[in-house]
Subunit: 343 residues, 2 copies
DNA sequence: ATATATTTTTTACGCGCGCAAACTTTTTGC
DNA sequence: GCAAAAAGTTTGCGCGCGTAAAAAATATAT
């Protein structure tokens, strides 16, 4: 590697012995130039370290190669995991992903979308805040920029939505719980930050009816994304209230369940399916840490791989086709029941 | 807000009734123009939505307003949390943070630094992989770009290092454990991904010597960042081996401890300080979920706020002063003992 | 009111590259 | 070996803005 620094594409093209537009073509698509030419450029690339100025490139391209990834709360391992998959897919497809977290705040989500718009991205993968999103802002953004919504649906917004079939999650878990013991009550937030909660609740009600059982729902107070804390505090309240008429409880999501575990521990209630336990607790999500709770958490897991891969592919299709689907597409993936020893 | 779209600064300046260079000045620093002029621009800003083209801006500025934030593993809630603080600080100071995760891979870290370099950032906040970092690459990068290292130190690299005083962490915890019960053995990885582990080990050895106890270290096999899994698997191995000669164990970090909790659960060992428990488990880090384990984890917590704030400030200082410190600065923060019921 | 300092405008250039059109060279098919 | 096709080159324009220098306008001090 020579120490000599190359300033711009002009200089680099000279080193290659080809013209600047040819080098430009190469960087846009290495296969668009003749193999011999390509070799010459790549050999020069080994000798000198040159990279096109990204700002100059993006200023002039109609469409940048940037892809925005927006999640509502990155400190939630679920989204961290999904984001990791999405990033990888984008890179492999030759795009430059930019990762953003709304940190649960509407103003921040709005700002991010504003920033993103000015980045002229080829497309955006957006998991919106949901309930606390500024509908108009998100709607306008999706009109301006090719966007795939994932995880949290907002009716009628975005060209494509990829997510999980939440009612199926709950229904599957309710069936399992009923088959193996007492029918579950349902533990959820009164005002959940994520819109999927509503569908899970609905799924619970329907599944219980199908199974011929009376549903029982406990609504946890609290706002925001500190779900474990809410699960703990409200779990204690629930356990102390004596409102639980069953020894089986299904939590609307794994983080709530993790908090509820802590509540059970504090109140001296043993969680699990073995003889010496007195309460079964199940969750929903397949949280990355759900296998390390005590006892390991029985849950329904998202198909992380499928959701992220399909989301990315859907976006890539929109980008290469250069046209958005006529009608809004939706694809929901089934969850996988993960039987462990908590329920 | 008018529907009419403004193309560029030229057009926008016309709407304001001022010249383009003046508008340019305004965007670089709103206080650099006369109050009356500022008002005129800001009134126009309300009527039309115009934002300078970030690519054109960054191409021409010697120094962009971008700040890179790089963490080794974003799916680790510790880093997710720190990243959240850092992002906020950057935005408040008027910079545009870009978040990257190395996902534990050297190649990816190298690529990120390469990308970052081409972004001509004003500065970078870097938590390197550490042991598996490509020393030369990181070193060269830090020479080219003003960089503050945080969390993981690499000797002699970067202008500033901000982190925690790891030996102090261990020492404080060892003292506490010895004071309240049996002296602890130490559970760590043989080849930890994070370099802080080495210092914690050292801290353990020294603290035990000061207290006049024989140290016992158990080295967990395994590579990478799946710490809970390693803690679980190797924890089981440890419990089965009968090598534990004490009923108190200090884990090198909270994630390992969480895995060890699961191991104890599986082997029927009750963790905690109450009468009916037979093993005390402590961790180090103050992991965001450590208060929700069963039982809640006794640990030493990083001063997240201080580390992130100080890191950001150190970088801002370097940026405004435009000169790097003559000698390498280091600032280590003490941890805070968080007594819960696991030890 | 005049001189001085500050702010703004004008003018002009450059950043590094995409892109399109016309032209030239090389490759491919027959 | 020739024509057609493909690939590469040349030329030139434009993107949207930073920035510097000089000129003009305005504010501040005397």
């Amino acid at each position: 590697m020579s120490v000599e620094k190359i300033k711009n594409m002009e200089e680099f093209a000279a080193k290659c012995g080809v013209s600047r537009p040819t080098v430009s073509k190469y960087f846009n698509d290495p296969n668009s130039v003749r193999p011999k030419t390509r070799r010459r450029i790549e050999e020069a690339l080994e000798r000198f370290d040159y990279r096109p100025n990204i700002y100059a490139v993006n200023q002039n391209r109609r469409l940048t190669k940037n892809i925005g990834i927006v999640v509502p709360y990155l400190a939630d391992p679920f989204f961290a995991e999904i984001a990791r998959y999405l990033e990888t897919h984008c890179i492999e497809a030759g795009f430059s992903p930019s990762l953003f977290s709304s940190h649960g705040k509407q103003e921040l989500e709005n700002e991010i979308l504003d920033t993103l718009r000015s980045m002229k991205p080829a497309g955006v993968l957006l998991a919106p805040l949901g309930r606390s999103s500024d509908r108009k802002v998100v709607e306008q953004f999706c009109r301006d920029v090719p966007t795939v919504l994932f995880d949290s649906n907002i009716d009628g917004i975005g060209d494509v939505f990829i997510g999980s079939d939440n009612p199926q999650f709950t229904s599957m878990m309710v069936q399992y719980l009923c088959r193996t013991g007492e029918p579950p009550c349902f533990f959820e937030m009164k005002t959940p930050p994520n819109p999927n909660a509503r569908k899970r609740r609905q799924g619970y009600l329907e599944a219980m009816e199908v199974q011929g059982h009376e549903p029982h729902i406990f609504e946890a107070q609290g706002e925001g994304w500190a779900l474990e804390e809410i699960g703990l505090r409200e779990g204690i309240r629930l356990l102390e209230s004596g409102e639980m008429q069953t020894s089986t409880i299904l939590c609307s999501n794994d983080r709530l369940a993790i908090g509820f575990f802590a509540a059970c521990y504090q109140k001296g209630r043993r969680v699990g399916i073995s003889k010496d336990c007195d309460i079964r607790v199940a969750g929903l999500d397949g949280h990355p840490f759900s296998s390390f709770t005590c006892p390991p958490l029985t849950t329904v897991s998202h198909d992380y791989e499928a959701i992220s891969e399909r989301s990315a592919e859907a976006l890539f299709d929109m980008i290469v086709d250069q046209n958005r689907p006529a009608s809004r597409q939706e694809k929901l993936f089934d969850g996988k029941l993960i039987m462990r020893t908590s329920a």
